[in-house]
């Protein structure tokens, strides 16, 4: 280094967030005495305009060339201060932050100890910053296309927004039709508009949009690359139906030897479908699919003399020779909208979900009241003896939510309101029914929710505060055993139908997407956002965003809002056409590299290769880094025996002084 380091150290009070525990004055005095420190100051809010100005003015006045900011986590404000440096012509990488808030003042109470630790952290930052090197942020082109995974309402909305803005969208859905959970719903709370009526047009739009390539009945197989340049491979599963020929007439499903033999997933198992099927009448694409696990021909190799679907299909669309197909493409951003599962009511055996046919889940109730459902919208239940129109109906809230015994501490946010809605719909269809709702608390927090809750209570729905302990059968009635906690009286109420308001859970197949995209999970096992307040649709990986219930339980308006947010964020690199690539990538010191290739084996991104160079007359192999692929993790460096590959800003020569400073023996 030719230039002598001239350091400025800035200790932030963060209001009193830091200064209440750390003696900031003492820390800046201490910093003033450290080697190469020209100026050390403390200030109430370093990140504020005047705070940044302080740094900028000092850089100009004292000719500072290295800056230490002791404040919050670098994960919070490193970009802020880098920008400040850049604005006065200093390389933005000449900055080191000492995290004296999240990792000091907020976690310690003893002022003396916290101050001593803050000094230590500042000393380590000073030791490192002197040895930092100037780096140039680089930019690469971004592919003006997005991948959206999951075609429920979140994925549909995000795709439409991005496509409408003029970018290409690949919308991948693993089931045969788009629509997701919303398609299964009858009416939506609190406005009671018909779910299908507002969703179906959007489903048709994604299928017809010139900018959207819909890959239904497909799964993402592989994702590599980085923001702006993700390489994606998608498996298009064989439908055994030529979609270009299928007209969706349904003759095949009627003809199928196993017609209407299998529980329909869409109807939550209450309706039936054939081995060749359309999940539901409004399915998009309106193309039939053969279930390879059910079809006689595919499982046993023969189906009578010839498969009936083949005979029935006039356009000749059935194609048993069809194979899975891998589609590859490149995108600049990815939106994960994989949705949720409903809680498995069998995990609460005391409610007898699998024992009594007239104990059903909320989602089953949706199908039961739906005009497109298995009963055509007529509420009919099997009480074990006969099909009846239930007159006494109970709802039990918080099944699988707010329940540590099943590992779900969270509130599912929609059950209170869907219960109110379903109670209303029952009253509408069976006016003489009595409906009771057993609840812990009623959470009616959204726009129009409280009003709706009031309305259903005025309609005669009875709310009983208490968490039922058991459901058992007596005659042809179900008995709900519960303590009314408002009057402290135990009761046993009799019903024809009990609806369990099951909560939302992370999808059981989330693991695949987590592994594919290196996502994190929150403690509730939903996918984790980059920051709970300020980056709620981002993930820790640049260019990958979350939308809808994969991130946590949400109602439809919140899901749509998040989808629009994710779409807007995803479009930033697409619209700019460029993305900044971190400059903190690895560099090979060719003079000492032995060409052993350990780094090549280690690199998870295949960013390193061996190249032959002439070293003093000998042709030798040395490692070389492809900077566009390197992510700067540094695993190569720790595995290099001659330490000949070093991640910039995290070099051994930059880290060892930090260790020495923290170790404390000079």
């Amino acid at each position: 280094m030719t230039e002598k380091p001239k350091l400025g150290v800035y200790v932030c009070h963060c209001g009193i967030n830091i200064s209440a525990t750390v003696d900031v004055e003492a820390v800046s005095d201490y910093a003033q005495g450290l080697p190469n420190v020209v100026v050390a100051r403390n200030y109430s809010y370093m990140c504020s305009d005047p705070g940044q100005l302080l740094i900028k003015d000092d850089i100009k006045e004292y000719g500072l060339n290295r800056i230490v900011v002791a404040s919050c986590s670098p994960r919070m404000h490193e970009p802020t201060f880098r920008k400040a440096l850049q604005e006065v012509g200093l390389n933005p990488y000449f900055l080191e932050m000492a995290n004296i808030r999240e990792q000091c003042s907020w976690v310690h109470q003893d002022r003396e100890e916290a101050t001593a630790k803050a000094k230590n952290l500042v000393a380590a930052a000073v030791a490192k910053v002197r040895l930092l090197e100037p780096l140039a942020p680089r930019e690469v082109d971004a592919e003006p296309a997005a991948l959206v995974i999951g075609a429920g309402i979140a994925g549909i909305q995000a795709s439409l927004d991005i496509a409408d803005a003029g970018f290409k969208v690949y919308l991948v859905e693993q089931s045969p039709s788009v629509g997701g959970r919303m398609a299964q719903l009858d009416k939506t709370f609190p406005t009671l508009d018909c779910s299908a009526c507002i969703l179906t047009p959007k489903m048709v739009d994604v299928a017809n949009h010139p900018n959207i390539e819909l890959l239904a009945y497909s799964e993402v197989e592989e994702v590599s690359g980085f923001v702006g340049n993700f390489e994606v491979k998608v498996r298009r599963k064989a439908r055994y139906v030529d979609v270009s020929k299928c007209t969706g007439c349904g003759d095949c499903a009627e003809a199928c030897r196993l017609a209407n033999r299998f529980p329909s997933e869409f109807d939550e198992g209450m309706g039936k479908r054939s081995a060749i099927y359309l999940p539901f009448p409004q399915a998009v694409p309106a193309k039939y699919t053969i279930d390879p696990e059910k079809c006689l021909f595919l499982t046993r190799g023969r189906c009578g003399k010839s498969p009936k679907c083949v005979d029935a299909c006039k356009p000749g669309a059935i194609d048993f020779e069809q194979k899975d197909e891998i589609v590859s493409f490149k995108v600049g951003a990815i939106i994960v909208a994989t949705g949720f599962d409903v809680f498995d009511a069998n995990k609460k055996p005391e409610y007898g979900y699998s024992d009594y046919p007239n104990v059903i889940t909320g989602l089953e109730m949706e199908r039961l009241v739906s005009a497109s459902g298995p009963t055509g919208g007529e509420i009919l239940v099997d009480n074990g003896e006969e099909k009846i129109v239930p007159k006494e109906i109970a709802f039990i809230q918080c099944v699988g939510s707010r329940d540590q015994s099943v590992g779900n501490e969270y509130c599912s946010r929609v059950c209170c309101m869907y219960t109110a809605k379903q109670a209303h719909l029952i009253k509408d269809k069976i006016p003489d029914a009595t409906v009771k709702v057993y609840y812990i608390d009623v959470r009616a927090f959204g726009k129009g929710f409280e009003e709706f809750y009031d309305r259903v209570r005025r309609e005669g729905i009875r709310y009983v505060r208490g968490n039922p302990s058991e459901i058992f059968k007596e005659g042809n009635k179900l008995v709900v055993k519960v303590e009314d906690t408002l009057t402290a009286t135990p009761r046993e109420d009799k019903f024809d139908l009990v609806v369990l308001a099951v909560g939302l859970t992370p999808r059981s197949d989330d693991r695949k997407i987590i592994d594919l995209l290196r996502l994190s999970q929150s403690p509730d096992r939903f996918l984790m956002e980059a920051h709970p307040k300020l980056r709620p649709v981002d993930t820790a990986s640049d260019g990958i965003f979350l939308a809808g219930c994969c991130q946590g339980p949400k109602d439809i308006p919140d899901t749509v809002a998040q989808a629009k947010g994710a779409a807007a964020s995803a479009m930033i690199p697409l619209a700019r056409g460029k993305v900044a690539i971190d400059a903190q990538v690895a560099e090979v010191i060719e003079d000492t590299c032995r060409g052993c290739g350990f780094c090549v084996s280690i690199c998870p991104y295949s960013a390193i290769e061996l190249v032959t160079i002439n070293r003093m007359g000998n042709m030798v192999e040395v490692a070389r880094v492809n900077e566009a692929l390197c992510k700067g993790c540094g695993s190569c460096s720790a595995g290099c025996l001659s330490n000949s590959i070093q991640p910039r800003s995290f070099r051994d020569r930059q880290i060892l002084p930090q260790i020495a400073a923290l170790g404390g023996i000079e």
Binding site: P74, R75, E102, Q584, Y605, G632, C633, A638, I659
Partner: protein, 143 residues
Amino acid sequence: MSEQFKPNIVAFLCNWCTYAGADLAGTSRIQYPANVKIIRVMCSGRVNPLYVVNALQQGADGVLISGCHPGDCHYMEGNYYARRRLKLLKELLEFTGVDPRRFNMSWVSASEGHKWKEVVEKAVEDAIAAGPFDQFRRRQIGW
């Protein structure tokens, strides 16, 4: 020792999981001992095992390394390399008689603020039990 020994512990945390988890502990105001001082690296795979030796030589009484849970590494595989390398280092240190309580390694995710507190408490407790590591300190050269 009239006063209780306050060990000096140097920790290497990966940026994506444990460093974020330690930040979360801060945001959640989870209190823990002030003995652990953190060096941020991008990945636990960046931690050269010789850093541990160096830290012990330069004044640390204990060293803690923490990264993402297996399968959760932001860089896919870095923590697997860290696990293999640091296991070997741990065996070597134990064999040469370094108190095993001077070296801890953990997986702490970005959402495990509480686990971070527990890990810190364990590391501090261990280092107190092991005592100051003066025998191994880098000596000043004077003539």
